[in-house]
């Protein structure tokens, strides 16, 4: 077996791993993806697939806005529209208190020189979302935002990556990683893989992979819950969130209502299983029927929780490893990584190919989390 047939090994067959693989393979690198179960098994497949710049932390905005431009031409990037519908994202205020929160956010974003968010009154909100409960008083809106279809996105990134020459190995979990001269030797349940560069995009298990590579990065776990209803007649086009409550509400292309908002279920990292907590999920149902009284009698058909890593400050880890030569991290997206997928792959390709990137990623260094651990 040729031991040096590879330039980059990517650990994790989620969307971020696939995006990095795609960008690197198109730049001529020989890339292999190792996936423990199957492509998109956890967070990527369980995602609400919101494509959102609205209300993102300021440090994420530069790359998020670039990602949004990429989403608007996603078909040119991956050969499929990924079900992306730029119907906008709307963050609703239910009362004056909510509205003042949104006004402060609006002022902050404008002050920082960003103009993608817009404050709208009740009349414009009702025009954008006629089905919304009339008690709502206004909203913050990002009109170029929207949502995609997570499975179509996975399939598109997978096919594009494979077409660019990426080899994807499913049912191929990493058991150990060690140095082999200037390379890394990655042991899996099957064969070994050797490459000079490793991308750690292992999602909920990224902390484990990082420690194999010499980085001890403290990570928490998210198990955000989603529910999907039976199909209903067209109800709304934008994705709707609320200022004061955990709710994200949209209608898929198939007509089902997809309801999330970060309500947390339970996760068991060892058995790789996550569980829905219905007492918690009931809060989401209450928010949904409060905001959209007309959907009270629509039936919930499925619910699930997707497992993902979260960091202390809810910002991702993107960049070179502080300790492992040739190691690059992309994980810890803390429940809002879907929209960033196209740009993070480009960032990793920059770092791996050119040792640098023009995009601002200082806030996402692994070191910030490790320092805090040392100080604690």
């Amino acid at each position: 077996m040729s031991m040096r047939a590879l330039d980059v090994l990517i650990v994790g067959g989620g969307l971020h791993g696939l995006s990095a693989a795609l960008h690197l393979a198109r730049a001529g690198k020989r890339v292999t993806v190792l996936e423990r179960s199957w492509v998109g098994r956890h967070a990527s497949g369980a995602s609400a697939a919101g494509v959102r710049t609205l209300n993102r932390p300021l440090v994420e905005l530069p790359i998020s806005l670039e990602a949004m431009d990429m989403w608007h031409k996603i078909e040119m990037i991956v050969g499929n529209d990924c079900g992306f519908n730029a119907g906008g994202q709307v963050r609703v205020a239910e009362d004056a208190k909510d509205l003042s929160v949104l006004e402060r956010r609006f002022a902050t974003v404008q002050g920082a020189g960003y103009h993608h968010e817009e404050l709208v009154d009740r009349a414009e909100l009702l025009r954008l979302v006629p089905a919304i409960s009339p008690h709502c008083v206004g909203a913050l809106v990002a009109r170029r935002d929207g949502a995609a279809d997570p499975h179509r996105t996975l399939l598109a990134f997978r096919r594009a990556a494979e077409a660019a020459g990426v080899s994807i190995n499913e049912q191929c979990g990493v058991t150990a990683i060690e140095r082999a001269g200037s390379d890394w030797r990655v042991r899996t349940e099957g064969r070994d893989f050797v490459a000079p560069v490793i991308v750690n995009a292992a999602g909920a298990w990224a902390g484990e992979i990082a420690s194999m590579l010499g980085d001890n990065i403290p990570l928490g776990l998210k198990a955000s819950m989603m529910m999907v209803t039976e199909r209903v007649a067209p109800l709304l086009n934008p994705v709707v969130g609320v200022a004061g409550r955990p709710l994200s509400f949209k209608q898929s292309g198939q007509g089902t209502l997809v309801i999330g908002g970060g309500l947390q279920g339970r996760a068991d990292i060892k058995t790789q299983r996550s569980f829905v907590d219905f007492d918690e999920l009931a809060k989401g149902a209450r928010a949904a029927v409060d905001l959209f009284p007309c959907i009270r009698f629509v039936r919930i058909v499925r619910t699930w929780a997707g497992m993902e890593a979260k960091t202390e400050d809810h910002q991702p880890v993107i960049g070179a490893s502080p300790n492992g030569n040739g190691v690059f991290h992309a994980f810890g997206f803390s429940g809002h990584g879907f929209q960033l997928v196209p740009v993070v792959g480009a960032i990793l390709a920059d770092l791996i190919l050119h040792d640098r990137t023009s995009r601002p990623i200082e806030a996402f260094s692994a070191k910030r989390l490790m320092k805090r651990e040392a100080a604690a």
Binding site: T229, F278, R299, V301, T303
Partner: protein, 467 residues
């Protein structure tokens, strides 16, 4: 906010009622929840109201004898909550239910799932057309509201229920356009040793079955060894086409086609709980793995009745009684030794009740096209309208399991929650990938195990105040 009971029984059919009677006899606090408006389950649906009427006579002795179990159940002191849907079960055991639009949680010392069986889905070209329904559904209408279809009915299938319903329909004054018997040729002769054992143990049941066959063959057009069926029509079924083993193909006018190819255990609840399951090759279905008392791999969760493997009403009652004895012993109401002694004669009766099963299972084993339609244009997932061909195409890309097929085709994502296509997808993948069906397995069950409305879920934990 959640209630607590010693024993929560889901389902007030033969198994659930019998278990409740025994558990109450040993002083347990028992709650029985059931979706229907009256006890009886599918087999004895509405028996309370019907047994003494002329409809009772039409439905026969195997039906009316349920009235005795129902009256003993009503007198047992078990709390009975009808019109209640269990939409989630969890380790604990804990169950989530809705009743009257309000969702609540119930914690139980033990949980007995007596949720019975569902009819095996039968995909064939045109099976989703209006005017095509199952024999079981037609029988529900007969039992619940004494209604029979207007005009002549085609019945196609294999198994006791198709025969019983045909006889009941004739007795009620209904018309049968034809009976398409899909039992493959040579089934009796190739199972002669099982037949001998069965007749020794249950001579009356088998003679009854044969007399139904004889009566039907005399009174209605009876076509044997039908291998393929197709429903044809634009808005609804207008004609049906069938092919027999000898290659004969016929088209006939049809306004209603009832199909039935046996039943399979209801396993959504035990799948949701993460219980171990086994493949029953005699019944071509999965069933929860149970110990001799009916306890699953999940502690304090029991299964009795057809949900434990198809055995019929008498076996269901006996399995319910056996499970209740163990549950009473676990809760300290009787000693283990006493439970074992009390169970002994019940186990003997259970053995006799199950004796004809091997013969029936072999006789009525569905033909291959029931599992995998010959015409791949047939719909596999009727909620999302996904064809067998589409599943096959997906199977061609790598070696996907059912969950990936679901994610990428949407098969199994509709309101039936995969109940109508899970076995079909497993069989298609197995055939395509050259793997055994039990190795392919079924979709992972996502909660809730029954759909509930957003309004119902919104009441959980509020005691109904949010409603």
């Amino acid at each position: 906010m959640s209630r607590r009971v010693d024993l929560l029984i889901v389902g007030a059919g033969p198994a659930g009622m019998s278990a409740a009677i025994i558990a109450r006899r040993h002083g347990m606090d028992v709650l029985v929840v059931d979706e229907q408006i009256a006890p009886g389950g599918q087999i004895w649906r509405n028996v309370d109201a019907v047994s003494a009427t002329s409809l009772g006579a039409v439905l026969g002795k195997a039906y009316t004898e349920g009235a005795d179990v129902v009256s003993r159940f009503r007198a047992s002191g078990a709390r009975y909550q009808p019109r209640t849907q269990v939409w989630q079960v969890e380790t604990g055991p804990k169950a989530f239910v809705t009743c009257g639009g309000v969702a609540t949680a119930i914690e139980a010392g033990c949980l007995l799932l007596a949720t019975g069986a569902q009819e095996r889905p039968v995909p064939f070209p045109g099976w989703t057309l209006p005017g095509v329904m199952t024999v079981g559904a037609a029988q529900i209408v007969l039992k619940a509201s004494n209604q029979i279809p207007e005009g002549p009915v085609w019945i196609a299938g294999c198994g006791p229920l198709a025969l019983i319903y045909a006889v009941q329909l004739l007795k009620s004054g209904g018309q049968i356009a034809g009976f398409l018997d899909t039992t493959p040729p040579g089934r009796v002769s190739s199972n002669i040793s099982k037949w001998a054992k069965a007749t020794l143990n249950a001579p009356i049941d088998l003679m009854k079955g044969m007399s139904w066959m004889a009566a039907l063959q005399r009174r209605v057009p009876f076509v044997r060894h039908v291998t393929e069926i197709e429903a044809i029509g634009s808005e609804k079924i207008e004609r049906l086409r069938y092919v027999t083993a000898s290659g004969e193909s016929k088209v006939a006018a049809a306004s209603l086609l009832l199909v039935h190819e046996g039943v399979v255990p209801t396993i959504h609840p035990t799948l949701a709980l993460g219980c171990q399951h086994i493949w029953n090759s005699d019944q071509d279905s999965f069933a929860p793995e149970l110990d001799t008392w009916g306890e699953t791999s999940e502690p304090n969760v029991f299964v009795a009745g057809d949900g434990a493997g198809i055995g019929g009403a008498i076996a269901a009652c006996l399995r319910g009684e056996i499970a209740a004895l163990r549950i009473a012993a676990k809760a300290g109401h009787i000693s283990d030794a006493k439970a074992a002694t009390a169970a002994k004669p019940i186990r003997m009766r259970l053995k006799r009740a199950l004796a004809p099963r091997a013969f029936l299972d072999s006789l009525y084993r569905p033909r291959p096209a029931v599992f995998m339609p010959t015409d791949t244009a047939a719909i596999a997932c009727r909620c999302e309208e996904i064809s067998v061909a589409r599943i096959l195409a997906q199977a061609g890309t790598g070696h996907p399991g059912p969950n990936q097929v679901k994610a990428f085709t949407r098969a199994g994502m509709g309101p039936c929650q995969g109940r109508q296509c899970n076995y079909t997808v497993a069989h298609v993948l197995a055939a395509s990938e050259g793997r055994p069906v039990p190795d392919v397995g079924l979709y992972r069950v996502r909660p809730p195990i029954k759909p509930l409305t957003l309004d119902e879920l919104s009441t959980l934990g509020t005691g109904g105040a949010a409603s």
